[in-house]
Amino acid sequence: MTVNGESRAYRPGLKLHALLEELKVDARAVAVMVGEEVYRPGRIPDVALAEGDVIEVVSMMQGG
């Protein structure tokens, strides 16, 4: 699977909440995209992940 552009080892049974926890990401402060599905901060479901998933974990930053 790919997380934020980097490949990451997948293991069967892995779910989104466990992944975010492993990545030390505060699920209340990020938006997540798994494939074409987009989830809001604090409302990220604990979906099952698949080996080929492309995942983006983003937050709001300063910008013009």
Binding site: L23, K24, V25, R40, S59, M60
Partner: protein, 265 residues
């Protein structure tokens, strides 16, 4: 609200939008935003650093100020990337508003007109309030308006350059023809730049670097606030006609002269 700026069905009393980039710290950014009187602020969407403790400082500051957030797609080089980031931006910020940027060129940060139009068309259909960053091209402005963009945002000069208004003649045509608010974005260096485009009928301006990189960002924010207000009032007042020769302000008759003007006094 008297003389409100209306975008996407919302009314604003301030015509100065601010970027939140390049400030030395959040405190300075917060103070500059306050001094500017802005009601619309841009933010970017970025991948989080994995494995590092995040911070929510920016969100805290902006939520307390109850600003209309305008997330951008800065960094996107294609329409496809911009559409993807737009969806993340909507999820992250909770707003449908989007400053659309499709910029393939890193040196001058000039937007791709074809990619911008393509992305705008998709995003409008998906319910976004699209404010597209664009070159000062009147034909493109018309096309972006036709696909349903909420504004058009022609650039004055390259992003962050502070070179002022290099595209004035084209901006003037866009203003003449646009049925949506024209927001002049990018390159403004000083308040008089902002005033000068407001005077010809721009509905708003967007400023970031000129304030963030000023010696005193808070003072410069206030300067831009006044510049935008002065320009807007002047536009509403209607400027005088330009003459090629002088026209005396004092009465031509009754001037006290000498009997022999050639004699020295």
């Amino acid at each position: 609200m008297q003389d409100a700026l209306t975008i996407g069905g919302k009314d604003f009393s301030s015509r100065l939008m601010l970027g939140t980039g390049k400030y030395k710290d959040f405190g300075l950014m917060r103070d500059a935003l306050e001094a500017s009187g802005t009601q619309i602020v841009t933010v970017s969407i970025r991948r989080v650093e994995l494995g590092a403790p995040g911070h929510t400082g920016l969100m805290d500051v902006l939520q307390k100020g109850s600003y209309q957030l305008l997330p951008n797609t800065a960094g996107c080089k294609t329409a496809e990337e911009a559409v993807r980031v737009a969806k993340l931006a909507r999820a992250m910020t909770g707003t449908d508003w989007l400053k659309l940027e499709v910029i393939p060129d890193a040196k001058y940060l000039l937007p791709d007109p074809i990619g911008t139009l393509k992305a705008a068309e998709i995003l409008v259909k998906e319910g976004f309030v699209v404010l597209p960053y664009m070159h000062a091209d009147p034909v493109l402005a018309r096309q972006l308006e036709a696909v349903g963009c909420a504004t058009v945002m022609p650039l004055a000069s390259p992003i962050g350059s502070g070179r002022g208004v290099l595209t004035r003649a084209s901006i003037q045509i866009i203003i003449e023809e646009a049925g949506v608010p024209v927001v002049v974005d990018a390159g403004l260096g000083v308040p008089s730049d902002a005033a000068s485009v407001m005077e010809i009928g721009a509905k708003a301006v967007l400023v970031n670097t000129a304030i963030a990189e000023a010696e005193s960002p808070v003072q410069m924010a206030e300067g831009f606030k006044l510049g935008v207000e002065a320009g807007r009032i002047a536009y509403l007042a209607g400027r005088m006609a330009v003459r090629t020769t002088a026209s005396p302000s004092s009465p031509a008759a009754g001037v006290v002269g000498l009997a022999q003007p050639e004699m020295p006094v």
